[in-house]
């Protein structure tokens, strides 16, 4: 079943076409990779899905409901969480606080109850903390749970960012270059976590990634973009042998 459908979307910045007439479907439970050369429009696509940009035309459906007109926080409530290419964490807050913030979208108690930590707020806060601890355990970041994020190495920050997205209990997780700038060992760790997220937590994943090794190893299906339009899609093996993909990457 299609969980996320992108129907004929286009995005223009003045005269520049960032995305043009793009169609894409993500099935429930799959790991879908979006690849393409620099400037192909991968991050623009992510920004459209998460509501940062509003597509000029076309629509995006989550479980057959239109989400492309919603504000970003509404989209997050619908169950779409993301990470960013450049880490966007709160550098002066602890790991726990950053993760707790991810739980915030699902808090339903009012400001007064929250301020005085009463009734429902207390209960939800406790539940959130339990949730956060499970994520910490899952991502193996126990050692740094009380450290400020800014003091942590890059690879760990990246993990914290994934953790924050997971804290939102998403249906779909958008990962924007999760292994960029990492060494071999860190890359292997993240790849393992991504697979575990898919299998243990049963979360559908859409991933933009430049590291072809990772994409070919773990993705179930791949969409290739170039200059804002789709040039190929299919399983990693099919895409790899597509002459259009080869020429997009290597030039004609």
């Amino acid at each position: 079943m299609e969980l996320l459908e992108i129907k004929d979307i286009s995005l223009y910045f003045g005269g520049i076409k960032a995305l043009s007439n793009l169609d894409m479907a993500v099935k429930e439970g799959e790991l879908h990779a979006v690849i393409g050369p620099n400037g192909a429009g991968k991050t623009s696509l992510f920004n459209c899905i998460s509501g940062v940009y509003r597509p000029t035309s076309g629509e995006i459906l989550l479980k057959d409901r239109r989400i492309s007109h919603l504000k970003p926080h509404k989209i997050a409530e619908q169950g779409i969480a993301r990470t960013f290419q450049n880490i966007e964490l709160f550098a002066n807050m602890s790991v726990i606080d950053n993760l707790l913030l991810g739980c915030h979208t699902h808090m339903t108690s009012g400001p007064l109850a929250c301020a005085f930590f009463l009734g429902k707020a207390l209960k939800q806060e406790e539940e959130n903390r339990r949730q956060v601890e499970k994520i910490i355990d899952f991502l193996e970041i126990e050692k740094v749970r009380k450290k400020t994020v800014g003091s942590l190495p890059y690879g760990i920050q990246k993990r914290v960012e994934i953790g924050r997205a997971l804290a939102m209990k998403p249906k779909i997780l958008l990962l924007d270059e999760p292994v960029a700038g990492m060494n071999v060992e860190e890359t292997e760790d993240i790849a393992r976590f991504v697979l575990d997220i898919k299998e243990e937590m049963e979360i559908t994943i859409v991933m933009v990634e430049h590291d072809m090794g990772v994409v070919m190893d773990i993705a179930d299906s791949v969409t290739v973009l170039d200059f804002g339009s789709k040039i190929s899609e299919g399983t990693p093996v099919e895409v790899q042998s597509d002459p259009k993909v080869i020429s997009a990457y290597l030039g004609d």
Binding site: E133, E140, E142, R145, E200
Partner: protein, 598 residues
């Protein structure tokens, strides 16, 4: 009921302590407790589950993974079934795991997580006797289509069903354990060649603990933090044998990485560790002091000598003059108490270092801060500890007298021989090796030592490690190496000089501390190799070597040294699982480097 086996002690404790906390493990950020009754239930269900899976008396069950509660459940359940537990180091690579599984003829494996399961699966085809792989943490194993795999919880559920049908079955199994039956096989770290499996029976363990309990007074209020791998005999003693004997509480850290913080939270009453960890704690303190503000540095410099002086008086059993007592009180408030609190050693009263010699300077430092660490002497083949200094008889460089029940004899060449009920039953499937070490009832330890006028034993070194220089001088390399390793910048040192003109040394730098030093001195580097080969670092190490050389006689001094440009690693067969250097392998591997120094 006579308590002549570990399972029978366990049954007694469960009745005696019932609702008291037996184990704690930090899970999801909170210390989770297990009472003796819950402990018993887990072991009972798992033991009966194993019976359902077909475990019989004398079968072997290997446990592969980091320390956790399930490790102990599996260990005890196996012993309660009159079967034998084999511990495998979680850091062992697949080939080593395969060797131990084959050599011990294991029919069951308990693996902690996916990483360990993969190691077993790699070699399962060549181990025909293997029946089930029982997995504690099933994370990431969902895709595995391997019908040998079963989860720990499923086994417990199997056992629970059997328990409902036959409620008294497990207690009967415990009653039928016999003291002369093998209980555990401990694979020796094997600084030479393949590891050998030492078979230890219940009688050995009970004899050892009965003797040791007379030296160290364990109480049921004591708590330990499980820090070394459980397959090592020293940790087995502290996490399994002592709690069974005295009802102490065992704590498991959240993960290996958080051990230091968890230690601080628990503040255990007894602490046993290997010199490597004592060194690490000391060098962390020294680096932190260097980084602190002037006032704190001054406090450290002024107060530590007071601690040193008082500790020395106490060691020599001399009275402490009143003005020193007052000064010590001041030092205690300003430095010693906060420092011990920081290290998580504030509540502790028993401190033991074992497995390798501890440097005298390090021991003086710990005594000065009010941590009376004592060196013990023990080995797998003695079921654990066999020499322990008595209270008030702690000496620098001495390991004290044998525990009650152990006899000591020195051979003509100085080799230490021991006899007693705690001498192990033999190497598994290797009677020749057993005959080589047990001759006429005496265990030949392979260590050389001497007995001083008080009757305390002092270990010189491993017999085969003693260096005889070309000039005919005998040198114990461990003394030099420990003195070098006292430096916060040196992690590992291997002294060389057997049948050579002079003594030389291979040195591995402590990356963390040298990197810190490099940063402070604005020295650019990229990785371990670039740091290790930097001329400024060589100068730094040279001054550290000179410090050591000043304390030794002319012939013993290190004339040349080389800094290794790679870190020694267990995977490269350079270290054992307990981080001891494999001397022969290193000498072979770095042959060219060594030759270049002569």
């Amino acid at each position: 009921m006579e308590t002549d086996t570990i399972p029978k002690l366990f049954a007694r404790n469960r009745k005696l302590y019932f609702e008291r906390v037996a184990l704690r493990e930090k899970d999801l950020g909170i210390w989770q407790r297990t009472t003796w009754q819950e402990y018993w239930d887990h072991v009972c269900f798992f033991g009966l589950g194993l019976k359902q899976l077909g475990m019989k008396k004398g079968d072997k069950l290997s446990i592969l993974g980091d320390n956790c509660r399930e490790w102990l459940y599996a260990d005890l359940a196996t012993q309660c079934s009159s079967a034998v537990t084999v511990g495998i180091y979680p850091t062992d690579v697949a080939s080593q795991v395969k060797y131990i599984l084959e050599n011990s003829q294991s029919s069951f494996v308990v693996a902690k997580d996916q990483e360990q399961v993969d190691k077993v699966l790699e070699s399962k085809d060549s181990i025909p006797g293997l029946r089930k792989i029982i997995v504690v943490d099933m994370k990431g194993l969902r895709r595995y289509k391997e019908n040998m795999i079963i989860s720990f919880k499923e086994v417990e559920a199997l056992g629970e069903r059997l328990h409902e049908q036959e409620p008294s079955l497990f207690e009967e199994m415990v009653d039928s354990t016999r003291s002369e039956d093998p209980a555990i096989i401990v694979y020796t770290s094997g600084t030479t060649g393949q590891p050998k499996g030492a078979v230890i029976d219940h009688r050995n363990m009970i004899a050892m603990i009965r003797g040791l309990a007379q030296v160290l007074d364990f109480r049921n209020t004591d708590s330990f933090v499980s820090a070394l791998p459980l397959c090592h005999i020293a940790e087995r003693m502290f996490s399994l044998i002592f709690p069974m004997w005295a009802g102490c509480t065992v704590n498991f850290a959240e993960s290996v990485a958080t051990l230091q913080e968890d230690l601080r939270e628990i503040s255990p009453t007894a602490f046993l560790n290997v010199p490597r960890i004592w060194e690490k704690m000391h060098s962390n303190v020294m680096i932190r002091v260097q980084d602190s503000v002037f006032f704190k540095r001054w406090i450290f410099k002024a107060m530590l000598p007071i601690g040193m002086r008082v500790a020395e008086l106490e060691r020599n059993r001399q009275p402490v003059p009143p003005h020193w007592k007052i000064l010590y009180g001041l030092a205690y408030l300003l430095l010693l108490r906060p420092l011990r609190n920081h290290l998580g050693l504030l509540e502790a009263r028993i401190f033991v270092s074992g497995a390798a010699p501890l440097s005298p300077d390090l021991m003086k430092f710990y005594h000065a801060i009010g941590v009376p660490v004592r060196e013990c002497y023990g080995m797998t083949e003695m079921s654990g500890i066999s020499f322990m200094p008595r209270n008030g008889e702690i000496k620098i460089g001495g390991v004290g007298k044998p525990i009650p029940g152990v006899e000591l004899k020195l051979a003509e060449d100085g080799e230490i021989l021991q006899r007693g009920d705690s001498v192990f039953a033999g190497y598994y499937g290797n009677p020749e090796a057993t005959r080589e070490v047990i001759i006429g009832g005496w265990l030949h330890t392979g260590d050389v030592g001497e007995v001083d006028s008080d009757g305390d034993l002092k270990i010189t070194d491993r017999k085969k490690d003693i260096i005889i220089t070309a000039g005919g001088k005998n040198i114990a390399p461990s003394e030099l190496e420990n003195s070098l390793k006292f430096s916060p910048y040196i992690k590992e040192a291997v002294v060389i000089g057997d049948r050579r003109k002079y003594v030389s040394c291979l040195i591995q730098i402590e990356l963390e501390n040298v990197a810190h030093w490099a940063q402070n001195n604005r020295i650019a580097y990229t990785n371990y190799k670039s740091l290790a080969t930097h001329p400024e670092v060589r100068k730094l190490i040279q001054t550290e070597v000179d410090k050591t050389n000043n304390n030794f006689a002319q012939v013993e001094r290190i004339k040349k040294f080389t800094i290794l440009d790679k870190e020694l690693d267990q995977d490269d067969e350079e270290l054992t699982a307990t981080m001891k250097v494999k001397r022969a392998n290193i000498e072979k591997k770095f042959k060219d480097l060594i030759e270049s120094m002569y």
